[in-house]
């Protein structure tokens, strides 16, 4: 237990909090009962980009001490403590022929964090969000009582995407997906411009369980050229016997040293990396077998890569807009190129149907995510103007990535916000749960 400065994955806007370690549900309840005036918030692995897992002047509950997996390989239901990472869950269950049904671009997130942000993966258009596969959550309410909540419950819908503000998730039952190999069968297509890329996605994504496009947002080359990567789990029956495997052994490569000069990832290097990545992709490739880690989590190969942006940090701008506002994708790329804001990781994807989570991010349409160094001159004003396009288009920004939107933007884009606020006022009148995000956005 100590006072530390905490920030999110983007390493911006650090604040001080008292970190409380917990190892079981009783600890969690006690911490909630003893929450200081400025409240308490749960923190998983800190993979949110902005400020949801920090709480200036209050307590932060380090949830990673809640460990333990009970797995029933007969029906594929895993009962998992909230501090367990998806990485640990995959290591446990993949060799037994079960896959975590929704995984973000990194495995280094906790089950609690995946529920609180209601994360999505490359299969959102088919399988929905993470909480669509959660059959039960054990939730420690602000008053310390432990309750089980189930799909359909008001508390379930508020907690899915509720950014830790409805209670502390202690445990969850997750229905996993049966697999026969730890391999993905992947189709890759390269497109020279954004229009053809988006057309291919709009017409063809339904034929794939997993689909995501990487878009070149460097300052050279045709704006929006990209690589579309789609696939599904490989069936053992369809591949040669010697290639069949359920082994899951990712390992990590290099750690980025702590003292990277500010701006190692700068305009020139990001543009060059984008260029190289685009050139190395095949124009078209079919039925390539890839390990699940290479397919789902290429970023996890380098640890702490967020340090490459130096001490000033970076942010991620991720929005979703309905198909009718698909032009916002192009406008965003153009506006950011205009001010020289290059993005190393730019991901475009189509979302499927909206779930019941009151503050869940996904809704049908296009989602674009860009990583941008915060030091780019003029960035604040450009992002503000892009917010307006997102608002006009009927879209929204993702709370797990946000570090700069305003309460007004939130209010205009999350129609179920009032419901969420009402529920929060009811179950937590004294604001035992609070976070920097909640203060910034009046959640």
């Amino acid at each position: 237990m100590s006072d530390v400065l905490l920030s999110g994955w983007g390493r911006t806007a650090p604040t001080r909090a008292h970190v409380v370690e917990v190892s079981d549900a009783a600890h969690v309840a006690a911490a909630l009962l003893h929450a200081p005036a400025r409240g308490l918030i749960a923190r998983g692995l800190g993979r949110s980009y902005g400020d949801p897992a920090q709480n200036a002047g209050g307590d932060v509950l380090d949830i990673t001490g809640l460990t333990g997996i009970t797995f029933d390989a007969a029906n594929g239901v895993a009962t998992v403590a909230a501090g367990v990472s998806l990485d640990a869950l995959m290591r446990e269950c993949t060799p037994q022929g079960w896959w975590v049904p929704v995984t973000p671009g990194t495995r280094q997130v906790t089950v609690g964090g995946a529920i609180a942000a209601d994360v999505h993966g490359k299969n959102h258009h088919v399988d929905g969000t993470f909480t669509a596969h959660v059959a039960r959550m054990a939730l420690s309410l602000p008053d310390g009582t432990l309750v089980n909540v189930y799909p359909g419950d008001a508390l379930f819908n508020a907690t899915a995407g509720g950014m830790g503000l409805t209670g502390v998730v202690v445990e969850a039952d997750i229905q996993l997906l049966p697999i026969t190999t730890a391999l993905a069968r992947v189709d890759t297509d390269r497109f020279d411009d954004l229009d053809s890329l988006m057309a291919a996605m709009a017409s063809g994504d339904d034929q794939y369980r997993y689909s995501v496009a990487w878009v070149d947002a460097g300052t050279r080359g045709t704006l929006g050229r990209g690589i579309l990567i789609r696939g599904d789990h490989a069936n053992a029956a369809d591949i040669p016997e010697r290639k069949r495997t359920l082994a899951f052994d990712p390992g990590t490569l290099a750690t980025v040293p702590a003292l990277v000069p500010n701006g190692l990832l700068n305009k020139a290097s990001i543009t060059a990396l984008n260029e190289a990545w685009f050139r190395k992709a095949p124009r078209q490739r079919r039925d390539e077998l890839q390990s699940l880690t290479a397919f789902f989590h290429p970023l996890d190969m380098a640890r702490d890569w967020n340090r490459m942006y130096g001490p000033r940090g970076f942010l991620q701008y991720q929005f979703v807009v309905p198909d009718s506002a698909g032009h916002v994708v192009q406008r965003t790329l153009e506006a950011l190129r205009m001010i020289g804001a290059t993005s190393f990781l730019t991901v475009l994807k189509r979302f499927g149907a909206e779930g019941p989570g009151l503050l869940s991010f996904p809704r049908p349409g296009w989602t674009l995510a860009l990583d941008i160094p915060t030091g780019v001159p003029g960035l604040a004003a450009v992002l503000d103007s892009l917010d307006e396009l997102v608002i006009e288009g009927g879209g929204r920004l993702y709370l797990a990535k946000d570090s700069r939107m305003t309460p007004r933007t939130l209010e205009l884009t999350y129609p179920r916000l009032a419901q969420f606020r009402a529920l929060r006022a009811e179950i937590d009148p004294n604001r035992r749960l609070n976070s920097d995000l909640a203060r910034r956005l009046d959640l």
């Binding site: 400065l5 983007g10 806007a13 001080r16 002047g57 000033r312 940090g313 604040a380 503000d384």
Partner: protein, 251 residues
């Protein structure tokens, strides 16, 4: 909360009618800014400043504040923080006076010390307590290069700023690791109503330059900011000039 692009949602300025503060407030305006607290002595200038800053999304609270009356300060600071956290606080008040008047009326020198130094300590300590509790926020203190080395021509003012500067620097160290960022700003000659009518010194700047330097300092978490930045080298040179020579310099 200050956002990832170093934009505050709330700002409180003590001595808000200062021209430097006015420029800074213009720079800090953004869609993120929700609340401004203007603490200053009552004046039409204060009211028109409030009117110019108020928008649909930015509320402005005006508080009566007299730096020379420390007994009133805790009430003012309570009021400043009454609506929630303050992300950026600024100690902007100050009087320059002139040495001849101080010589003629020693009580006026005491008054200057009361405002610049005692007032700064009084507000600074109380604000620091609040920011420490918050676990985040910035305190910007307008010091001066005049405090770095006393000059015969304005040593009373210089001494008040020297005291304030040492106070704020020490406070910054005391708050290290608390989530609170203390920034000591040392401008040279700034063309404002404070220096109106005085002959311009070399390296003089406008209030906008000071505001820009402060905004930049917020982005980079700077603890000491000289304006212009070259002043840092000038002052470090001047510090080592022997006293017998320094006395005779035309500054």
């Amino acid at each position: 909360m200050i956002d990832a692009l170093s934009r505050p949602q709330s700002v409180a300025v003590f001595g808000a009618t200062s021209q430097i503060a006015g420029s800074l407030l213009q720079r800090l305006r953004s869609p993120a800014l929700r609340h401004i607290v203007l603490a200053a002595r009552p004046s039409p200038a204060r009211d028109s400043l409030a009117d110019s800053l108020r928008t649909d999304t930015t509320a402005v609270t005006v508080l009566d504040f007299d730096a020379s009356d420390p007994d009133s300060h805790s009430g003012v600071i309570d009021a400043a923080f009454a609506q929630g956290d303050i992300d950026v606080t600024v100690i902007a008040f100050g009087v320059l006076g002139n040495q001849a008047d101080f010589d003629a009326d020693p009580a006026s020198a005491v008054e200057a010390a009361q405002v610049n130094y005692v007032g700064g300590v009084s507000v600074g300590m109380r604000v620091a307590t609040r920011l420490r509790e918050q676990g985040h926020g910035a305190l910007i203190v307008l010091s001066s290069v005049a405090g770095e080395r006393a000059r015969a021509s304005n040593y009373v003012y210089g001494s008040t700023k020297a005291g304030l500067d040492v106070f704020a620097t020490g406070l910054g160290d005391a708050l290290h690791g608390s989530g609170v960022h203390v920034m000591v700003v040392r401008p040279g000659f700034v063309r404002t109503k404070m220096t109106e009518g005085l002959p311009e010194a070399p390296l003089s700047v406008g209030p906008d330059d000071v505001a820009d330097a402060i905004v930049n300092g917020l982005r980079h978490n700077r603890e000491t900011v000289y304006v212009p930045s070259t002043m840092r080298f000038v002052m470090s040179g001047l510090r080592h000039v022997p006293r017998s020579l320094f006395r005779r310099l035309p500054i």
